[in-house]
């Protein structure tokens, strides 16, 4: 942008601090920007005058639900208050992402974040920029991003709009991650009509660094320079945060396309390499990515976390649209931008590194000895605010909440044999298993996962469809991590407190069965409107449940994201607290997968099976039923299972957790994903065949061990207080054979595979 253009804008009249002070009665569009009357009044009280239009833009976007967590904050405090004592946590909640010590001087940072609303409007770009945003958060901690995961929720498979969203989201996650060069190591994709108008796109990124490389978002040191580098600033995503993420979609449908950001993964790749080089040479005093709320967020976060003020010269920001007003520049959510605070001695080298990677870099400001964040447009002061009031002192709501009146009736509606007829013959059992395996939520994910690069960087030890993604961090020692991302929203709909704990329980189990030690948690809390007291109750219960369970398991919540307003008109999504668990493995060569069993190995079921079908896949697929009591949460058993698996990993030839669809689905998956069959009998188990096969009780896994190791592993289970059952053997014949009280179920691999592999392509056809 030339200075003449800027001069033209200035002449049109910029709302300066001086002008604001002199014109207190000017009508301002605070309501259109999403502020409430009392919030606007608070801004006036803070500044002791009316805000300028640029200040109004900053406050409105930073005080939006998405940025300020104003409805959720009072509840989220529990994650700190109930934080378990652990040596592993190096950086906790509040920074761009939490950091965990995994030993040998290595630190790992990971976080999951939502990009739900943009992904409904523009599935490809919404999902793509969701990946881009979370990767920059990880980068801003000083870490090299290592891998991504995605947890996705779509509407009903048969709905005409579903394939548009699935196709766009999957292509977007893949298109961005593949071009960025990060392996996608796992996640989930779930179909349910409650997500029809509110698909969920939750993206996780994990990165690693040496302890001494941890960086924080703060601007300190008077005279230090503020460098903006990366993509030029454009008009994309202006107001995206406040307009999109904090408003419910109304019946008129989306007409807000320009508010969705557009991603450029190539630029992000350059940004990663150039930033890592700056870290390596210790050139950066503080750093912040530009995501939601763009410059408003980056400048106010950096300034409020530092020990001085900051001055920014907005006309220096490189633009790709010369007509943008200062208010638009400050709100723009253009992607692939970072802001670093650099000592003047290092500025030449920083600019050199950016030039080497062809990345535009501009000094846009400096750290001052004042206390305010001041933004100038040419020589005119257009923002003069205490930065904390923008970044951290946003409104906090104690929103009213109460237990939904309808919940008692839903919980009383158990999937009894009268309401949901159960299979009674071997033929019916077979039919139910086949219907489960070809259902949208249990069928083969290959159509989706084959669009993601899982090999790039050369450290992927396990990716989908394994229970967790496993990545090698240190090539010499083999030290690595396992990560899993899970949630069953139907459990949340039955009981949000238990639902959140069950999500954690499953992710913890998935990490444990890969032989890793679970260390820490990240969460993405997806809920409906906080203005609905019943939704707010669901949210409060889920947070309480998750915080309580994290305390018990000794795995702190290190950071995450809240996504509210996921509802269409009066209908909210199921409470969907997606939970990510990170674990460490001393040597990834000792990891356990669901492959590795040999013919003749014994198949053991570890864990207690109760009569628990409510919210499970069997009730959902066979009867479309959602009611009853969620499975019992048993964290002690979960910890015991993890310990047994970890301590006996050399004896365990393969392991697979039991979750969606229970034992029937886990056994079928073993047949489908290996070149062997399984032949088991349920005669010596603790419950009837139907319960054994379809219950979704927690803290269970099927493991295979050599015949001579059965006694040792079962003795360990007994010592740990876990029941175990010897179910049968790994057979050469590639089929699923189960002897039950109703007779022998025998399904060939071909029969299982037919519906299982064709279901997702059929949805997308």
């Amino acid at each position: 942008m030339s200075s003449t253009d800027n001069a033209a804008v200035t002449q049109r009249g910029v709302d300066t601090v001086e002008r604001a002070a002199a014109s207190p009665d000017v009508q301002q569009p605070w309501a259109e920007l999403g502020l409430k009357a009392d919030e606007y009044q608070r801004i006036r009280d803070i500044l002791d005058r009316r805000p300028t239009s640029a200040e109004l833009a900053m406050y409105s976007v930073m005080w939006s639900e998405h940025c300020s967590y104003k409805s959720s904050k009072v509840h989220l405090r529990q994650f700190g208050a109930k934080q378990p004592v652990t040596d592993a946590l190096l950086v906790g909640i509040g920074e761009n992402a939490g950091v965990v010590d995994i030993g040998d001087g290595w630190a790992v940072t990971f976080k999951v974040e939502s990009h739900n609303h943009p992904s409904f409007i523009e599935p490809y770009q919404g999902a793509a920029t969701g990946v881009g945003g979370i990767v920059r958060d990880i980068l801003a901690m000083g870490a090299r991003p290592l891998a991504v995961m995605d947890s996705l929720r779509f509407g009903a498979p048969e709905h005409p709009d579903t394939s548009r969203i699935v196709g766009g989201v999957v292509a977007g996650v893949g298109g961005y991650g593949n071009c960025l060069g990060l392996p996608n190591i796992g996640g989930e994709a779930v179909f349910d009509s409650c997500y029809q108008g509110n698909p969920l796109v939750n993206a996780l990124c994990v990165g690693a660094m040496r302890h001494e490389d941890i960086h924080l978002a703060k601007a300190s040191g008077v005279g230090n320079l503020v460098v903006l580098y990366g993509a030029r600033t454009g008009g994309d995503g202006i107001g995206g945060v406040s307009v999109l993420a904090s408003e419910t979609f109304d019946a008129t449908g989306p007409a807000k396309r320009p508010a969705v950001q557009v991603g450029d993964p190539f630029m992000e790749k350059l940004l990663i390499e150039c930033t890592l080089q700056m870290f390596k040479e210790h050139l950066v005093e503080g750093i912040q990515d530009l995501g939601g709320a763009g410059l408003s967020c980056a400048t106010s976060e950096l300034a409020s976390n530092g020990d001085g003020g900051m001055r920014v010269h907005l006309e220096k920001v490189p633009l790709r649209d010369a007509t943008l007003s200062p208010e638009e520049i400050i709100m723009s959510e253009s992607q692939e931008r970072m802001m670093a605070v650099v000592h003047p001695d290092n500025i030449d080298r920083v600019m050199q590194i950016c030039a080497h990677w062809d990345v535009t870099a501009t000094v846009v400001g400096e750290v001052t000895d004042g206390s305010n964040l001041q933004v100038f447009w040419h020589d005119e002061l257009i923002v003069d605010v205490p930065p904390r009031t923008v970044a951290h002192d946003g409104p906090v709501y104690e929103r009213p909440y109460h237990r939904p009146a309808w919940l008692d009736a839903r919980q009383a509606d158990e999937p009894t044999a009268q309401r949901c007829p159960r299979p009674t013959s071997a033929a019916e059992f077979s039919e139910h298993i086949l219907r489960l395996m070809s259902s949208a939520n249990l069928c083969d994910r290959e159509w989706l996962t084959s669009q993601y690069d899982r090999y790039v960087l050369g450290n992927t030890v396990a990716a989908m469809p394994h229970d967790s993604g496993v990545v090698r961090i240190d090539e010499a020692s083999g030290r690595g991590i396992a990560v899993s991302l899970d949630c069953n929203g139907r459990f949340g709909a039955l009981d949000p407190y238990a639902g959140a704990q069950l999500a954690l329980s499953e992710a913890y189990r998935n990490v444990a069965v890969s032989g890793a030690t679970p260390l820490a948690v990240t969460d993405c809390l997806n809920f409906g409107s906080p203005e609905d007291p019943e939704v707010m109750w669901q949210f409060a219960e889920a947070v309480r449940g998750l915080a309580d369970a994290c305390l018990t398991l000794g795995t702190p919540v290190t950071g995450g994201n809240v996504s509210l307003y996921n509802q269409t008109a009066q209908t909210a999504i199921h409470p969907t607290p997606v939970v990510g668990v990170l674990g460490v493995i001393d040597d990834v060569r000792s990891r356990i997968t669901m492959h590795g069993a040999r013919y003749g190995d014994s198949i053991l079921l570890i864990g207690r099976t109760r009569e628990e079908f409510a919210g499970g896949e069997w009730a959902h697929v066979l009867h479309g039923h959602l009611g009853g009591t969620a499975p019992v949460v048993d964290l002690a058993a979960e910890m015991a299972l993890a310990k047994v698996v970890r301590e006996h990993s050399p004896l365990i030839t393969s392991a697979h957790d039991l979750s969606d669809g229970g034992l029937a689905v886990a056994l079928a998956e073993l047949v489908l994903r290996n070149d062997y069959g399984v032949s088991v009998s349920l005669s010596d188990t603790e419950a009837d065949g139907f319960t054994m096969l379809f219950s979704e009780s927690v803290a269970r896994a099927v493991v295979t061990v050599a015949a001579q190791d059965v006694d040792a592993v079962r003795a360990a289970c007994e010592l740990a207080g876990l029941p175990s059952a010897l179910l049968g053997v790994v057979s050469e014949e590639r089929s699923l054979v189960i002897d039950t009280d109703a007779g022998r179920i025998a399904i060939s691999r071909e029969e299982l595979a037919a519906g299982w592999s064709s279901a997702l392509p059929a949805i997308m056809a």
């Binding site: 060069g181 084959s450 993601y452 090999y455 790039v456 050369g458 030890v461 090698r472």
Partner: protein, 227 residues
């Protein structure tokens, strides 16, 4: 002295560190080269790695072909320098004119990443000397624009001159005549769409089959020195 093999990094290269790791695992020294330089530093061979050079904007490999370092590579390749182009590297070789044909959007229009069975057809190139013709290997394929195309005459010529290096067993992208990789007349320049550098250790890849490409070049270079 070990052979020295250069790995070029373009802006947007993604598999360059994987390629360097594979070069080392194959018994050579990996020399990292930068696209904007012109000095090949006396390397004995060059790998053009996978990725999205320059974002794959305009057309895959079309911009990378004009990188200063590619000028040096093109000249040296014409003088017999062995070059292996993997995925995006294969696209760059076609754009450079070092190999005939082109790579276009997959026929199913999706990016595809899967473990791919490939049959080695030519075991007498600089990069496949340690294979036996007809050998079947499994290495990852991952691309959005991996469909090999050329006119019928070129395809017939490649076949007649045994310049088809590897063929897909189960075509993943609509490549004509199941072509996964080809070589030039002097059998020193090889372009291959699937990724041997991602299959050098069963811990992190489907197999270690890909390692043979990197031991092959060491064999080839040793034979040259011996000759």
């Amino acid at each position: 002295m070990s052979a020295r093999i250069g790995v070029i990094t373009f802006p947007g290269s993604l598999d360059d560190s994987d390629a360097a790791r594979a070069v080392t695992a194959g018994g050579a020294d990996a020399v990292r080269l930068w696209h904007a330089d012109t000095d090949l530093q006396g390397v004995d061979a060059v790998v053009l790695p996978g990725g999205f050079s320059y974002g794959d904007y305009l057309r895959c490999g079309a911009i990378a072909r004009f990188a200063p370092m590619m000028g040096a590579v093109i000249d040296a390749a014409r003088d017999g320098l062995p070059v292996l182009g993997i995925c995006n590297g294969f696209q760059i070789l076609c754009e450079s004119g070092l190999l005939p044909g082109a790579l276009i959007r997959n026929n199913h229009l999706h990016f595809i990443c899967r473990d791919q069975k490939v049959r080695i057809a030519a075991d007498d190139t600089a990069w496949t000397a340690d294979f036996a013709a007809g050998q079947e290997i499994v290495i990852p394929v991952k691309n959005g624009e991996g469909g090999y195309v050329a006119d019928e005459r070129t395809l017939d010529m490649l076949q007649a001159e045994n310049r088809i290096v590897a063929r897909y067993v189960g075509n993943p992208n609509g490549s004509l005549r199941d072509i996964a990789g080809i070589t030039n007349e002097s059998r020193t320049v090889v372009g291959i769409m699937p990724h041997p550098e991602h299959a050098i250790d069963p811990l992190t890849g489907p197999t270690a089959d890909g390692l043979v490409f990197f031991t092959s070049i060491v064999t080839t270079l040793a034979a040259r020195v011996g000759a």
